[in-house]
Symmetry: C2
Subunit: 425 residues, 2 copies
């Protein structure tokens, strides 16, 4: 395990000798997860997710390899947990790929038309509808439009051979359609909710299609699983959750996940779903916000430094980029930056992080740091499992069910009524 | 003016007969702006910004046209107010252009290397460093690296003829370098701060280079200026500010700007800087958060529906997309979506918005709606001026200086010390 936690800037806000105590207070919530004894326990399949059904991984890799060998474009059609997980991993590890595109995550004709314009110019296009039911509105209408384009391009059989559906193993509209048309399918496990599904075929197939090593990703998650399921005070997810709960109980309303790496922008979006949807219920929950620094130090930075002290901050840092760019000396030194000559961007970014953590500490913002050496399949896998477990613990400690999302139905019900859906009135 | 405000879902939370009263309470803050009598009054140049220095607009259009005729790539190098304004307008109005790229808004070697890889394949590359001082770290190091590439590609003279600097009119490192090398320049007015600078050459030149009609953009801002500088209770910025201040005074901690149009994702980022940096000081300020719906209804949606009631929501909606995609009937109706046949995406998106606004009202979230008919230069110009004035009013009503940003220095000072900058210790 390479993920590191640094709590040094918490101690001014949580006394160092209280650290053990808040860990003890939080351990029952960890045990509720591990004993599978709390509400939502039927959705704890993610705990074991470094393991997959026999043969699944190999089949994912085989289908993904076939797509990559053809230099094909894969369009993933999903929303929420059927979108953010793979999007965030692909942006972190293959940030500039254009072989995986996304549709069905909004109701924007301009966005969908843009996707249609792109694929008009591509030779080989595969579709990957991702939906447990197959009737969710946003991906449903996008798939209907894209499937028409696809059948016109390839014919009904040619289209069917280029559609891989990720859906329920036995029931639902997309399962029925897949069986009828002969689509290849991957199964969404029954015991894993959408926001915890990135390490199921929901996420793994698009991730593999982007050329990312899914075995290594699962290996990273597995390495973290050993730590994060341990009933020890050193359990990193427990320690992070204990801090989150303690600060929440002290009245902090907002957690800002601040990364210094723009490749993690969508990873913070994935975390916002994970934390917000798990904890935000029964009038409880930390509001999950995110920032990409140092960009947003010139945006939200002023507020973080001097605004109301109802926030705390979790830094997510990556010590080494894939590329090294070193500042060279300049004869004229017109920009007065020669004092940086010989330093590379990562070294400067590290000082920006250190300077920011100190400034925010001085400004009264409790903060902690989660860092990895570099972005790799292993470290991203670790981060996923680490955060999934921390949020589950925090939710139980807040006395909510971290695995349901009853509030998501409210807008849908209204929308269905307004759209005249049969049977909704 | 085409921008519409809808306060219907505020009335359960602010009594309808209190609406006039909170407007009256907020009017002194409006007068402080208009009389130019408050703290930061030396930065009120944005009030007049639909007007430009004589000849400036024409020169911006001429240089931008020259770049467009060559099918050239323009790299804008800036951070904060020298980044978010034009980025947000370009994403709103030319969302899929790849002729304008961005550097210097972070300290990421991977990001900068990606830009270098792209321009290696492009024939004509222009640079647009944007910095009042020319010594800001992030754009400074990016410009140093890009200028070296540029001079190697085009030679010193060829490079100089392809660099357009947006900087101070008389002083600073970038001004000196520009004079020495013979760069074309555009001036940043002294009386406009970074986050209010999108309608100065800071924003207008990149926006014009993306093929957007800047006269129409300023025309929209000018149309809103008439309304937003009026000392009438119908002033839309005053009405919005009055609601913001009233909800803040009632204890709301977070404002979520929720758009149903993904082309406005960066516009919400620009607003977060505008609001957060203007109001977040002296331990005051609404925390500015954003959401892109319906995407984030499957992410933050649960929290918004059922979490702590310390939020209010401002919807930003666009009634018509540029493209129309209509749902067709399907013989098999496998997805059960035939009830939508004949409806287009915009109609469905509108019902998603209405259903969401009702659901959040029912869930105890005060909300209001700012809507425009479509995204055009005129409506985006209106939105910019509308929000700039609303935030200025809110800041004065909170009794802060909306035009300074003292907290932004804290991380910089620490970073300079850690980097060994001469004279900082």
């Amino acid at each position: 395990m390479t993920l590191q936690l640094d709590f040094a800037n918490i101690y001014p806000f949580i006394e160092e000798n209280a650290f053990e105590k808040i860990g003890e207070q939080t351990r029952p919530a960890l045990r509720t997860v591990l004993d599978r004894s709390g509400p939502g326990k039927e959705y704890l399949g993610w705990l074991d997710l470094p393991q997959q059904e026999p043969g699944t991984l190999e089949r994912i890799q085989e289908v993904a390899s076939g797509i990559r060998e053809k230099d094909a474009t894969l369009i993933c059609i999903g929303i929420g947990g059927s979108y953010l997980g793979h999007k965030s991993v692909i942006e972190a590890l293959q940030p500039y790929t254009d072989s995986v595109l996304y549709a069905g995550q909004n109701i924007s004709a301009d966005h969908l038309q843009h996707i249609l314009d792109i694929i008009d110019e591509r030779e080989e296009v595969y579709l990957n509808p991702i939906s447990k039911s197959g009737t969710t509105t946003e991906p449903g209408i996008a798939f209907r439009v894209l499937r028409k384009w696809h059948e016109e391009r390839y014919g009904e059989q040619g289209s069917a051979s280029r559609i891989i559906a990720t859906t329920d193993s036995s029931k639902g509209a997309l399962r029925e359609l897949s069986d009828q048309k002969g689509y290849q399918t991957f199964a969404i496990p029954d015991d894993v909710g959408g926001r915890y599904s990135v390490l199921t075929p929901v996420g793994l197939f698009p991730i593999a299609a982007a050329g990312i090593d899914i075995k290594a990703l699962l290996g990273g998650a597995g390495a973290m699983r050993k730590q994060a399921t341990s009933d020890s005070p050193e359990n990193p997810s427990l320690r992070y959750a204990a801090v989150r709960n303690s600060l929440y109980e002290q009245g902090k309303a907002i957690e800002i996940l601040s990364t210094f790496n723009p490749r993690l922008q969508y990873f913070t979006e994935w975390w916002k779903q994970l934390a917000g949807e798990s904890e935000g219920k029964d009038r409880k929950g930390l509001f999950p916000a995110s920032a990409v620094l140092s960009t947003d130090l010139h945006s939200l930075g002023q507020w973080i430094q001097d605004g109301p002290r109802n926030i705390f901050e979790t830094f997510l840092t990556v010590k080494n980029s894939d590329h090294t760019i070193t500042i060279e000396a300049s004869n004229e030194n017109a920009d007065n930056l020669n004092y940086l000559a010989g330093k590379d961007f990562d070294a400067i970014n590290e000082k920006a992080y250190q300077g920011t953590a100190q400034a925010h500490t001085d400004g009264g913002v409790p903060n902690l740091t989660v860092s990895v050496d570099k972005l790799s399949e292993e470290t991203v896998g670790e981060l996923i499992y680490f955060l999934e477990m921390a949020v589950a613990i925090t939710g139980y400690r807040m006395d909510v069910n971290p695995f349901n999302q009853p509030g998501v139905e409210a807008y849908k019900t209204n929308m269905f009524r307004l759209l005249g859906k049969p049977g909704v009135g």
